[in-house]
C-alpha cells in the first residue's frame, strides 16, 4: 500500500516535471523542471530496490548533465524566453502522431511481451553484484569505455586550446 502511494506520487511528479520542462519558454525553469523529473525517476528506481542506479541517476543526470545544461544555456542569448508566446507550431500534428506511433507500435508490444516480475526482487546487495559483473564478464567493455572517455577528455582539452599558435598570434598577445 505504502509502495503504491509512493509510486503514484513519484509518477505524477515525474510526468508533471517532464511536461513543464517541455512547455516552458524560460530555459532555466525548463532545466530545473527536467531535474525534478530526474529526481522523481531516481525515486522510482529506489522503489524498485535499484539503489545504485538511483544514486547514479542523481549523480550523473542532476549533478553532471544538469549543470552542463545550465552552463550551455548561460552561453545563449535571451535565456528567459517570452512566456506568453504559444509554443505549438504548425507541425505539431505530426509530432503527436509520431509520439503515439512509437508508444503503440514499439513500447506497448515490448512491455506486453516482456516477462516482468510483479514485485521487486528481495534485497540483495546490488552494488556488489554490479561490481562483480563489471569486473568479471564485462571488464573488456569497461576498459574500452574508459579508454574512449579518456580520449574524449584529451580531445576536449586539445580542442579548447585552439589550433597551433602562429608567430603573429603570439606577437599580438
Amino acid at each position: 500500500m505504502t509502495q503504491e502511494i509512493t509510486f503514484w506520487v513519484l509518477a505524477v511528479i515525474a510526468v508533471l516535471g517532464a511536461l513543464v520542462a517541455v512547455r516552458r519558454r524560460n530555459l532555466i525553469h525548463g532545466v530545473f523542471a527536467l531535474m525534478i523529473f530526474f529526481a522523481a525517476l531516481s525515486g522510482l528506481f529506489l522503489l524498485l530496490l535499484a539503489e545504485f542506479i538511483a544514486a547514479v541517476q542523481i549523480l550523473v543526470y542532476i549533478g553532471a548533465v544538469g549543470i552542463l545544461l545550465l552552463f550551455a544555456i548561460m552561453l545563449t542569448e535571451r535565456v528567459t524566453g517570452d512566456d506568453a508566446r504559444d509554443i505549438t507550431s504548425r507541425g505539431s500534428f505530426w509530432g503527436w502522431a509520431a509520439a503515439l506511433a512509437v508508444l503503440v507500435f514499439l513500447l506497448l508490444p515490448a512491455i506486453q511481451s516482456a516477462d516482468l516480475a510483479q514485485t521487486a526482487q528481495p534485497h540483495i546487495p546490488s552494488v556488489k553484484a554490479l561490481g562483480h559483473k563489471l569486473m568479471e564478464p564485462y571488464v573488456v567493455t569497461l576498459e574500452v569505455l574508459a579508454l574512449l572517455l579518456t580520449a574524449a577528455l584529451i580531445g576536449a582539452v586539445a580542442a579548447s586550446q585552439g589550433g597551433e599558435k602562429t608567430k603573429e598570434d603570439s606577437d599580438d598577445a
Binding site: M1, T2, I5, I28, H29, F32, M35, E51, F52, A54, A55, V56, I58, L59, I62, G63, G66, I67, L70, F71, M74, T80, P125, S126, V127, K128
Partner: protein, 452 residues
C-alpha cells in the same frame, strides 16, 4: 500507512533534525569566539539571559541572531525571478539535511525501540552521499541567477565551477577506503575500523584524509576557498540579495553541510563512533562521533582565521593539477601496498601453519602430542588470524610479540609493514613536491598602463 512505520520514521529522523540545528547554533558562537581570539578581540560576551546582566560568555548570541533574522524585512529585487528567489534557500537546506541520514550514527534509544539505528541504511550510502551533496551546487546557482544581480551571478558561477572541480578529488579520496573495506555501506565501513583500526593510521589513508579535508573545505565554501562569497570582491556572492529568514536558511544549510561532510570524513577515516570505553558504555559511540565532528569543525574555524583567500586561477590549478593526480596516484599506491602486505602475511601464516602441522600429519599422531612450537610461533599465528579479520592494529601487536620472542618471519612482516609506511609516505611526499612545482599557475605581473 501504519502507525509503526510513522513512529519508526520519526524516531530515526527527529534526532537528526533536532541535534544538528542546535549544534549549528552552538557552532556559530564557537566560530565567533575563536575568530575573535585569533584576531585579538573578545567576541560576543554580552548576550546571555535576557533582562539580566548575566553574560554567559555570549552564549545567547545565536538566539538573538535568530530572532533578528526572523523579524527582518524580506527584500526581493524588482527584476528577480520571485519563485526561484524563494526556492533557492530551501533547496540549499534540503540536501544538507538529507545527507545526514547516511551517517552511521547509532543513537542509544535505537536499541530499546524497534527503530533502525541509522536513518537510512543503504548498501550504496557513500555514493548516495556524494550524489545528494552535489545538489547544493544547484541551489547556489539558482540563488545567483534568480537575484538578477551581477555580483550574485558571478558568485553563483564561481561556486558551480569550484564545487564541480573539487567534487572529483573528494570522491577519489573516498575510493581508497571503499577499496579497503570492499563496501559502500557506511555501517560496514564504520565496523571495519573498530578497535582503533582507523584508516588515517595507514599512509594511503592519511593522504586520502588530507585530500578529502581540503576538498571538503572547497565543497562547503569555507575559507580559504570562500571565493563564491568573497566579501572584498563580490559583496557576498550568491546571497548578496538575500536578507532575513532566507539568509538564515542559507547560513543554516552551509553549516549543516559542514557537519555532514565532516561526519563523512569521520566515518571514512576517523573510525566513526570508535573510541575508548566503548565496551562498558556503548552509548558513548554517538558522543565520540560528534566530538570528532567538532574536532574537524574546529580545524576549519582555525584555518578560516589564519589563511588568506585563493585566487580563481590558483583554485582551479590546485584542484586539477595537484589534488586530482595525487588522489589517483594514492589509489594506485593503496592497492599496491595493501595487496603486497596481504600476500606477505598470507604466505608467512601458511608457512607457519605448515611447519606446525606437517611433521605430525604423516606419522598419523595428530591429536596425541601437541605440536612443539618454536618461540613466537603461536603469536605469529594469532597475528595472522587477526590480520585476516582486518584487525590490523591487533595483528601488528601479535606480530610484535612474536618478533620480541625471536620469531624471524614475524620480524620480516613487521619490516614490511614499516617499509610500506616509509615508502608510502616518501613516495607521496615526493609526488606532492613534484606536483607543487608543476601545478603553480603562472600569472605574469600586471603591466601598468599608466605611468606613475
Amino acid at each position: 500507512m501504519s502507525f509503526e512505520l510513522i513512529k519508526d520514521i520519526l524516531i530515526a529522523t527527529v534526532p537528526l533534525l533536532v541535534i544538528f540545528p542546535s549544534l549549528f547554533a552552538f557552532t556559530t558562537w564557537m566560530e565567533r569566539k575563536a575568530l575573535a581570539r585569533i584576531q585579538n578581540r573578545i567576541g560576543p560576551n554580552k548576550t546571555g539571559i535576557p533582562c539580566t546582566r548575566i553574560g554567559l560568555f555570549g552564549l545567547g548570541q545565536p538566539a538573538a541572531d535568530g530572532i533578528k533574522m526572523i523579524f527582518k524585512e524580506d527584500i526581493v529585487p524588482r527584476g528577480a525571478d520571485r519563485l526561484f528567489h524563494l526556492l533557492a534557500p530551501i533547496l540549499a537546506l534540503i540536501p544538507a539535511m538529507l545527507i545526514l541520514c547516511f551517517l552511521p550514527l547509532e543513537f542509544p534509544w535505537g536499541k530499546f525501540m524497534s527503530a533502525p539505528v541509522q536513518a537510512f541504511l543503504l548498501d550504496s550510502a557513500v555514493i548516495f552521499f556524494f550524489a545528494i551533496s552535489g545538489l547544493t551546487t544547484l541551489a547556489i546557482f539558482m540563488a545567483g541567477w534568480a537575484s538578477r544581480n551581477k555580483y550574485s551571478l558571478l558568485g553563483g558561477m564561481r561556486a558551480v565551477a569550484q564545487m564541480v572541480s573539487y567534487e572529483i578529488p573528494l570522491v577519489l579520496s573516498a575510493v581508497v577506503v571503499v577499496m579497503m573495506v570492499g563496501s559502500l555501506n557506511a555501517k560496514e565501513i564504520a565496523d571495519a575500523q573498530t578497535g582503533f583500526n582507523w584508516f588515517v593510521f595507514t599512509p594511503w589513508g592519511l593522504a586520502a584524509f588530507v585530500i578529502f579535508f581540503i576538498a571538503a573545505l572547497a565543497e562547503t565554501n569555507r575559507s580559504p576557498f570562500d571565493l563564491p562569497e568573497a566579501e572584498s570582491e563580490i559583496i557576498a556572492g550568491y546571497f548578496t540579495e538575500y536578507s532575513g529568514f532566507k539568509f538564515a536558511l542559507f547560513f543554516l544549510g552551509e553549516y549543516i553541510a559542514m557537519f555532514a561532510i565532516s561526519g563523512l570524513a569521520v566515518t571514512l577515516f576517523l573510525g566513526a563512533g570508535d573510541g575508548p570505553f566503548l565496551t562498558s558504555a556503548p552509548w558513548l559511540s554517538v558522543v565520540w562521533f560528534i566530538v570528532k565532528i567538532f574536532g574537524l569543525i574546529a580545524v576549519m574555524i582555525w584555518l578560516r582565521g589564519t589563511l588568506p583567500r585563493l585566487r580563481v586561477d590558483q583554485l582551479m590549478a590546485f584542484a586539477w593539477k595537484f589534488l586530482l593526480p595525487i588522489s589517483i596516484f594514492n589509489i594506485l599506491l593503496a592497492g599496491l601496498s595493501h595487496f603486497a602486505l596481504d600476500a606477505r602475511v598470507a604466505a608467512t601464516s601458511d608457512a607457519i601453519l605448515y611447519s606446525i602441522h606437517a611433521p605430525h600429519t604423516h606419522s598419523g599422531a595428530v591429536n596425541h602430542a601437541p605440536p612443539k612450537l618454536v618461540a613466537g610461533q603461536k603469536e605469529a599465528v594469532m597475528g595472522a588470524l587477526h590480520y585476516t579479520d582486518k584487525n590490523w592494529v591487533g595483528a601488528m601487536e601479535w606480530f610484535f610479540k612474536a618478533a620480541l620472542k625471536g620469531h624471524v618471519q614475524s620480524r620480516s612482516i613487521l619490516a614490511w609493514w614499516f617499509g610500506i609506511w616509509a615508502m608510502g609516505l616518501t613516495v607521496l611526499y615526493v609526488m606532492a613536491k613534484g606536483l607543487d612545482n608543476v601545478s603553480r599557475s603562472e600569472v605574469k605581473p600586471r603591466e601598468y598602463l599608466y605611468a606613475e
